[in-house]
């Protein structure tokens, strides 16, 4: 078996130059690493297969280690399509003139961030963030990734707006867990007392029975904002043929494989436009993430 593996590696590596030229015709996409990698790889390999069938071209999914890496790969034209968050999408479209948001999840029109707390803190859920000031002050707090919309941008915005202080002034310790699943695990374990995460990740983990509700609970929900979307480069038609962008858009909007949608989790995809994300852009400018 090992021999076989080595032989396969040899062959694939020896042809790497050939493969490099062939991959110029491969449609490559990526996604921000907002959840556990195993789940992402499984989900987006499914998407790659689906798109490959619909578009009749080779489609390849590239996993990346950070939000910025996803944006850079898109900007550098090493990927032509990406599943971005609100903020990363805005960053990417600013950097690549002509690129467009073409589809978003039904739930992404009104996305939310959940503030969660370890039950040992004794913080009780509230409707207004301001009423939690006493309970939250001086606690340890974790965001998700530095480039995340629901895990960083929106929670930071509301913390600043409500308490009038930077997060690292208001809390005793501020960390960046890396992704939403990890934020959930860290607060559940008590490594951080409070955290903020993507509400869809919370709901899905809750439905799957993966959350110890005795250890962690939701204490506040943000107002709705637009989030995730598929963004495509403006020059794909030149590379993959006339009307290619339209075909990708339609393929995404027509995606009705329930298992695949479930893995996002989204009930379906609907059309989106760059303008839908203007609020995100404004918020990011306000807290200095975007110039």
């Amino acid at each position: 078996m090992a021999l076989n593996l080595i032989r396969k590696l040899m062959v694939s590596s020896l042809f790497c130059f050939g493969a490099a030229t062939a991959s110029a015709e491969t449609f490559v996409f990526t996604a921000i690493p907002d959840e556990d990698e195993t789940k992402l790889v499984e989900r987006f390999r499914g998407v790659a297969d689906y798109l490959s069938n619909e578009l009749n071209v080779d489609v390849r999914y590239i996993p990346v280690k950070s939000y910025a890496a996803a944006v850079s790969a898109f900007r550098n034209n090493q990927v032509q399509l990406a599943w971005f968050g609100g903020l990363s999408g805005v960053q990417a479209r600013r950097l690549v003139p002509g690129s467009e948001a073409i589809a978003q999840g039904v739930e992404d029109q009104a996305f939310e961030t959940y503030f969660i707390a370890n039950t040992n803190t004794g913080i009780e859920p509230a409707d207004e963030l301001s009423s939690l000031e006493e309970g939250l002050q001086g606690k340890t707090f974790t965001f998700g990734s530095k480039g995340s919309t629901s895990g960083r941008l929106m929670p930071e915005f509301y913390i600043r707006e409500t308490f009038g202080e930077q997060p690292d002034e208001f809390f005793s310790r501020v960390g960046f867990s890396g992704n939403h699943t990890r934020t959930l695990r860290l607060v559940e374990a008590g490594t951080y007392e409070v955290g903020a995460l993507n509400f869809q990740v919370w709901e899905k983990e809750l439905a799957d029975g993966n959350i110890d509700t005795d250890a962690v609970q939701v204490i506040w929900r943000t107002p709705a904002y637009p989030d995730y979307q598929w963004t495509i480069r403006g020059d794909v038609n030149e590379r993959f043929g006339e009307g290619f962008k339209q075909r990708v858009t339609e393929a995404l909007l027509n995606l009705d494989d329930q298992a695949l949608l479930e893995s996002f989790p989204r009930s379906g995809f609907i059309p989106a436009s760059n303008d839908d994300y203007e609020p995100i852009s404004k918020t990011a400018e306000e807290i200095g993430i975007l110039d």
Binding site: V64, S66, A68, N76, G175, T191, D291
Partner: protein
């Protein structure tokens, strides 16, 4: 005893570290760190080698990147060593080696993207700087006499090949082989930023709590390094070096226009790109200095000083584990295994593991740096202590340790420690990527915000800090007349 300058220096550094400790953020924030640590060790003793189809490929990539990167670095370093006398070359080398491999990788990722070149250059460039320095030191120590005896019209190249190379060959080879081991560690951690080496899977496995998978990867990595003498044979080297480029994987094609854009736009400070021009530079730099560079430098320096002293303590405690003057063969063998594991585990991975288990603070970083570097120094002085011949009636136990051995190895211990000072600082800065507020944290944040101009300035600041500590370390070593061979 306080008359001795080495002892006095030691206590000054100890005092600085103790003061630093007052300001350092040392805490275990995880609510149940011992349970997690237990889970981790359980994972290591129940490794799962078959979890991931990519594991073998990742190992192969790790080795390939190390070979290609170290080979390129050693060739360019050798050429640079020939002109090392030239001041601009020395400055260039000091500069490129002051920037950590991971920073280089983050830079190249921005324009080469996920192409093998990113990983290869990330290793080759800093290594070239290090090779240039060490090679030139080795060549300088060659016996000059044979060169003086050559016929006057002998070509420079012939003279060099006959009189310098053979004399230095063993040292050059030993050091290069040693660097290859360092290269394997560097290559492995490049995975943490997305290159297809071991770190890529290790990070995934850890972050998802798959400790048995992570344990399997660590064990494979240790085996890979421990068996190096068996598979890195001089005769096989040409085959490895010629073959390795074919096993780097294909990655994604390079788009060359990105390279130009990176240098002409991305890293140009944003006021110069916009309408403000030079007038805006002051405010831009000032803001970055106050909000990012200053806190970053402060934390980096504190963490470095605390970790340096902790490294020293670990090294002094650990060297008897392998010294022939203590214990029997069983104890020594287990001591060797322990130290091999400590020094084979890159501090970045150790820090990552401990951060996952103990929660964020400087503590995991200090422990990781101290264990890794203490393991290396402990190994070196332990080996040295075994060459000391004690008189037959020498005392035993603690007295033997304090009266006979420590005084004899203390100078070389300090030499190694000050040699590693700069290395510890370089690592400290990089650990910021994991979320400790050292300079690396601010570099990573700038990159996450797609502000490469800021990232570059912060990387330059980090490099200058490293160069400063390097110079200071050399000054102290010269002042105390301490000599040492390079370590990595």
């Amino acid at each position: 005893m306080f008359q001795s300058p080495t002892v006095r220096t030691s206590f000054i550094f100890l005092a600085i570290a103790l003061v630093g400790l007052l300001f350092a953020d040392i805490a275990i924030t995880a609510s149940n760190p011992w349970r997690d640590l237990g889970n981790f060790f359980f994972g290591v003793v129940t490794p799962n080698f078959f979890s991931n189809e990519g594991l073998m490929t990742a190992l192969l990539r790790t080795v390939s990147f190390a070979f290609v990167g170290v080979a390129l670095g050693s060739i360019s370093g050798f050429l640079l060593a020939l002109v090392y006398r030239w001041l601009p070359v020395r400055i260039l080398c000091a500069f490129v080696r002051a920037i950590h491999e991971l920073f280089w990788a983050l830079i190249f990722l921005q324009f080469f993207g996920f192409h093998p070149l990113t990983g290869v250059l990330a290793i080759a460039i800093p290594y070239a700087g290090i090779f240039a320095k060490v090679y030139s030191e080795i060549l300088e120590e060659a016996d000059p006499e044979p060169g003086r005896l050559l016929p006057p019209r002998t070509g420079v190249i012939s003279a060099f090949l006959y009189t310098k190379i053979p004399d230095c060959w063993v040292q050059l080879r030993t050091y290069t082989a040693y660097r290859l081991e360092c290269g394997l560690r560097s290559s492995a951690i490049l995975g943490f930023v997305g290159l297809p080496t071991l770190g890529f899977y290790l990070e995934s496995a850890f972050s998802q709590g798959h400790y048995s998978d992570a344990g399997a990867m660590l064990i494979l990595f240790y085996v890979l390094i421990a068996t190096m003498p068996l598979w890195v044979k001089p005769k096989l080297l040409p085959a490895y070096i010629l073959g390795a480029p074919f096993f780097l994987g294909e990655g994604l094609p390079i788009v060359w226009s990105n390279v130009g854009r990176f240098f002409t736009q991305d890293i140009v400070p944003s006021p110069l790109r916009g309408e403000e021009g030079w007038a805006g530079m002051g405010a831009w730099l000032g803001d970055m200095f106050i909000n990012q560079a200053m806190p970053g430098i402060w934390n980096t320096v504190i963490l470095t000083q605390v970790a340096l002293v902790a490294t020293g303590i670990i090294a002094l405690l650990a060297f008897p584990l392998i010294s022939t003057h203590f214990g029997g063969p069983v104890r020594r063998t287990s001591g060797h295994v322990f130290l091999v594991i400590m020094r084979s585990t890159p501090e970045y991975i150790l820090a990552y593991i401990l951060l996952q288990l103990w929660g964020p603070s400087m503590l995991p970083a200090v422990v990781a740096l101290a264990l890794h570097n203490g393991g290396i120094i402990g190994h070196l002085i332990g080996r040295q202590s075994s060459t000391i011949r004690l008189r037959p009636d020498a005392p035993n136990g603690l007295n033997r340790y304090t009266y006979e051995l420590v005084p004899r190895v203390y100078r070389s211990f300090l030499a190694f420690l000050f040699y590693r000072w700069e290395i510890i600082m370089r690592e400290t800065a990089i650990l910021g990527i994991l979320g400790i507020y050292t300079l690396g944290f601010y570099v990573d944040s700038a990159i996450q915000n797609i502000q490469f101009d800021r990232a570059m300035v912060l990387i330059l600041i980090t490099a200058s800090l490293n160069i400063g500590v390097d110079v200071l370390g050399r000054f102290i070593r010269r002042k105390l007349a301490l000599q040492t061979m390079p370590t990595c």
